[in-house]
Amino acid sequence: IDLEQYPTGPHIASRMLYTAENSFGDVSDKVVADFGCGCGTLGLAAGLLGAQHVIGLDIDDQSLEIASINADDLELDMNFVQCDIKNFRWRDQIVDNVIMNPPFGTRKKGADMDFLSVALKVASQAVYSLHKTTTRDHVKRTALRDYNASSAEILCELRFDVPCLYKFHKRKEVDIAVDLWRFVPQNSQVKRL
């Protein structure tokens, strides 16, 4: 519950990846990282669309185990790393693009922004991320001002079905409006974590 793990539905995953590939060519033949990969949905979708090398990162054992099984089932080779995004260190910008469905920050405030901050340091080309529509202005302002994004574009608005998974969900099923963002980092020689 603390980690706020909601699976990325297949319709959201396919929307994200198809847009990334068809509108921007950001998937096939690329090195793609899936931050907070959970069961691997986004990363595997990237693999299916021709990403050359996909790495999924998550903090949770069980999710990674499921993700491995999913990868095997699809006969896709996806590398996984168990780590805490916030203190994880990468070398330079080998990763082309980051795709992610970060924890929204309702339980632990600002979690999605932490993910975005790291993603913009790691990706050399683009970051695709989902954030709640209600936080739209905050996301744009922070990305451009604090996280070194040279651009922050909303590609579309999606509805995320969150079924009543946890006790603290008061209503039976909640539809959350989320924005699919594409951020472009400012490329800098002196970018180190």
Binding site: H53, I59, Q82, R89
Partner: protein
Amino acid sequence: MRLLTHNMLSSNIKGVANGFPLRIEVEKVVEKQVDFNADFLKNMFAKIEWKALVDASRSMGYSELPGDANPSMLDSDDFLQKFHHALLELHLEEGALVCPETGRKFPVNKGIPNMLLHEDEV
């Protein structure tokens, strides 16, 4: 875990100045065939830390990569095939990644390295 991934990972322990590259302790290596993509390899060449890749592949039992490499070698199909094999087809399935400064071991199980830090390392 492919060596392409290894080439991106660094020790994240507090106080470590340069945690790259991590040394590899091998218990089990698996080879998985991947389709050859010359363009991808040529793009990656500029971003890869060559020495780290060579050392890593040797610790995995593959010694075909030349110790030094320069872009002109990308014209050779033979070189590209070896580069391809080392970068994408060798997998560390079981073993550990070792921090070059502290010697701390990050275990690798079923191909997944566990880079979670203990409380005193953050």
